[in-house]
């Protein structure tokens, strides 16, 4: 049941991306909410589930792109795992830390994708990268709240085991 709900959110995310967000170009960059799906899935669960969710959504998105198939899946699996692992290090959950993780992970995912794309023969303009990274990071920060609502519904409520009085980092 959880898998079906997560798949539904992934499909809706991809449709929102291709119909509403992809046509928006700001300073050469286009928002990418599929990256946000992988990041928030990892934040809501753990590294393993984040990697699987990122891989699945990335692979589905790859089928709509003309860049090499598997590139987005590879990037989002790594990013989902990385965010899940980073979340395990953070003890206290606060909206500031979550937002910072979303922004940093979005930037890292974009740079990782660009590097992998170059390896697989896709032309990437290095001069355009800062604007692309900025647009994706800002858009994902703005959209992180609704994505968290959607994935909280899909995965179910988070277990509340952490105390607010504990240290932020281990």
């Amino acid at each position: 049941m959880i898998a079906a709900r997560v798949a539904l959110v992934a499909v809706v995310t991809i449709l929102v991306q291709v119909t509403l967000l992809s046509p928006i170009e700001i300073a050469g960059g286009r928002p990418n909410v599929v990256v946000l799906f992988a990041i928030v899935a990892a934040l809501q669960t753990n590294a393993e589930r984040g990697a699987v969710a990122g891989f699945g959504a990335g692979l589905a998105f790859d089928l709509l792109l003309d860049t090499p198939a598997g590139l987005t899946a590879l990037t989002l699996a790594l990013v989902g795992w990385g965010v899940g692992a980073a979340k395990d290090v953070v003890l206290r959950s606060s909206w500031m830390i979550t937002l910072a993780l979303v922004v940093l992970a979005s930037a890292a995912a974009t740079l990782l994708y660009a590097a992998a794309a170059v390896v697989f023969g896709v032309a990437v303009d290095p001069a355009a990268l800062p604007a692309i990274v900025a647009v994706i990071a800002v858009a994902n920060a703005l959209l992180s709240k609704p994505m968290r609502w959607a994935l909280r519904w899909a995965f179910g409520p988070e277990p509340r085991v952490r105390s607010r009085d504990q240290l932020i980092f281990r």
């Binding site: 119909t19 286009r30 990697a51 699987v52 709509l64 994708y113 032309a123 647009v135």
Partner: protein, 278 residues
């Protein structure tokens, strides 16, 4: 202990996913396996949603452009007026050039592109991500479009059909390295060369085919050669020579070609021929 075991399991899962991704990348790179079929199905399934999304998003996009693009529109308007003045001045000269081009076509016995059947298509989708450079047009298999067909604007060659997905097609632009080689001919000297995208600067580069003794002037027109080595019909304008250099061994010249066609308009024309074009 439990945390360490869970971390180990997640790492194992990650390794499996990375290996799966690399397998898919390899299959796609070699153009084998079910990847292309899956792409076709995915494109067809998503197509109606994209049409609906376009319908919903267009008024918002127009509003956005109206608010944030007003100064750009003013500048574009001024630029267009200057361009119109220049075109009026060149009209007489263009008539003479057209006669010369027709004469050259007859002299070289090249096929005349006007005789090739064609279909006009609207550009309905721009690239989906910042790293994707293909566009989508609203014509597909039902209109006679097949993979590899040339896509032109009134200015010249702009791309080729990469994939047909039901009633839509994806087009790879001539400036994309994935476009591959295009056989071109220099209009003045008649030299034939192979050109390909030079990367991210939006230009083409012709690295082989132009002998070092050939006189090539900056601004010289370049058209498709229509030779057996190229799937594109002959005589379609490709661009103008931007710069000329010699190869390392000084045997040939390398040319940087600025493409003449761009995708500022909403419409393109697909030439409905593949092998028969040449």
């Amino acid at each position: 202990m439990a945390r360490s075991r869970r971390f180990g399991r997640s790492r194992f899962t990650l390794v499996l996913l990375v290996l799966a991704s690399l397998t898919i990348l390899t299959l796609d790179y070699r153009d084998t396996g079910p990847i292309q079929g899956a792409r076709g199905v995915a494109g067809t399934v998503v197509s109606p949603f994209r049409t609906a999304g376009e319908f919903i998003a267009t008024p918002f996009r127009n509003g956005w452009n109206g608010i944030f693009g007003y100064s750009d529109l003013e500048e574009e308007n001024r630029e267009l007026r200057r361009e119109l003045d220049r075109i009026r001045g060149e009209r007489v000269e263009a008539g003479a050039d057209r006669e010369e081009l027709d004469e050259l076509r007859q002299l070289n016995d090249l096929p005349v592109p006007d005789t090739i059947p064609r279909v006009t298509a609207e550009v309905v989708s721009e690239p989906l991500t910042s790293f994707d450079s293909t566009i989508e047009i609203n014509r597909g298999a039902g209109d006679g479009i097949k993979e590899g067909m040339s896509v032109v604007t009134d200015a010249g060659l702009v791309g080729r059909v990469l994939r047909v997905q039901g009633g839509r097609s994806r087009v790879v632009l001539i400036t994309d390295p994935a476009f591959g080689d295009v056989a071109v001919r220099l209009v003045d000297s008649g030299e034939v060369a192979l050109a390909q995208s030079s990367g991210t600067d939006g230009n083409l580069e012709a690295r082989e085919g132009v002998r070092s003794g050939t006189v090539v002037e900056r601004g010289e027109s370049v058209v498709t050669s229509g030779s057996d080595r190229s799937p594109y019909p002959g005589g379609i304008p490709v661009g103008t020579v931007e710069s000329v250099a010699r190869t390392g061994d000084a045997v040939e010249k390398t040319l940087v070609i600025e493409p003449i066609a761009n995708l500022d308009g909403r419409y393109v024309v697909v030439l409905l021929c593949d092998e028969a074009c040449t």
